[in-house]
């Protein structure tokens, strides 16, 4: 039989010109449609003037959590469970900012004690920066530690499940104040 000789030391060059041509066309298209700054939204529920009275009435017999951020950036959380009120406060940091790490832990504890509450009332003081308000909302909305989850009942299937969301519904209650 005739043996085919294969030269294992032979070299060849890939023709990358066509690949480069495709990439050159793709790059400008993607550059034009790229979002280098991804803007997202936080949803808030604001009580309408007409529905405010109804909401207040509903709140009277239910559990309610009020989060107040005062001028010194101290956060006072008042938990109202069927008329029984308890208060937890989070002192500001030495730099005079809201202590976000401590606030997250406090929210987690409150959520573990009250897994059926998903809404909080937020009342920041007038001079609190918008940036800080958003950060407080972030801490309240979901747990930063994905291993810590909270029980929730699936209304459709009736089965118990878990979620990392703590208080996703945030209402600015002092919006109507002067």
């Amino acid at each position: 039989m005739k043996k085919v000789k294969i030269n294992h030391h032979s070299e060849f060059e890939l023709d990358l010109a066509s690949l480069l041509a495709v990439i050159m066309k793709l790059v400008p298209v993607l550059l034009l449609s790229s979002a280098f700054m991804q803007l997202m939204v936080i949803e808030t529920d604001l009580p309408q003037v007409v529905t405010e009275a109804i909401q207040k009435q509903e709140k009277e017999n239910k559990k309610n959590i009020l989060v107040e951020v005062d001028d010194s950036r101290k956060v006072v959380i008042t938990i109202d469970v069927e008329g029984k009120k308890s208060t937890v406060s989070v002192d500001p940091t030495k730099e005079g900012h809201v202590d976000l790490a401590k606030l997250q832990l406090t929210f987690r504890e409150i959520k573990q004690q009250n897994p059926d509450i998903f809404k909080i009332d937020l009342a920041p003081a007038g001079n609190v920066a918008y940036n800080e308000v958003v950060r407080v909302m972030d801490e309240a909305r979901r747990s930063r530690d994905y291993h810590i989850r909270f029980p929730i009942k699936d209304e459709k299937t009736g089965k118990d499940t878990t979620t990392d969301y703590m208080f996703p519904e945030i209402v600015f209650v002092n919006m109507m104040e002067g």
Binding site: V27, E43, A129, G178
Partner: protein
């Protein structure tokens, strides 16, 4: 005397050469991957407002195509139209209703006009009283509150706060 001979390079006129584009292809492939990651998946176009820095948040919810209101350190805009002024991070006193310190008159008028104008709604999602609020991160809450209060009065009680991804 013998003339001095000039050195002449032996250049072949009909020679061809191949460009090594491997490294260039590498670079473009990396660029392509980066651009694909940043590819805008949201269909809503949010125009960045000059001198306005939105706060960072861990929210990953895409914006919806509804009426846009922006509050920078200098002015309040509804879409692209300037409706009120902001001075020293406060709403200009001339734009505030003397009867109600939270009520921004020109903003209310503009929002009410748009709420009742079918042309303004054209091409947008059904808003159901929703607005997208782009506000500067350094503004105090009382300024934002006035905008939200006025929007609520004008028939836009559901405010979606625009943020940028971050921790």
């Amino acid at each position: 005397m013998g003339r001095r001979r000039h050195f002449e390079m032996d250049v072949k006129q009909n020679s061809t050469f191949t460009l090594n584009i491997t490294s260039m292809t590498d670079m473009f492939t990396l660029l392509l991957v980066f651009l694909l990651q940043n590819f805008a998946t949201s269909s809503v176009e949010l125009k960045p407002v000059k001198d306005l820095r939105v706060p960072t948040s861990n929210s990953y919810k895409n914006p919806v195509d509804v009426l846009q209101v922006s509050v920078s350190e200098g002015e309040i805009r509804v879409s692209d139209k300037v409706v009120a002024r902001v001075q020293n991070r406060q709403i200009a006193s001339t734009d505030i209703d003397p009867q109600d310190s939270n009520f921004i008159k020109p903003l209310f008028q503009e929002l009410q006009e748009r709420a009742h104008d079918p042309k303004a709604q054209k091409g947008k999602d059904e808003d159901n009283g929703q607005i997208l609020l782009q506000a500067d991160q350094n503004l105090p809450y009382q300024t934002i509150r006035k905008v939200m209060y006025t929007a609520s009065m004008a028939g836009y009680p559901h405010v979606k706060l625009v943020t940028v991804i971050g921790n």
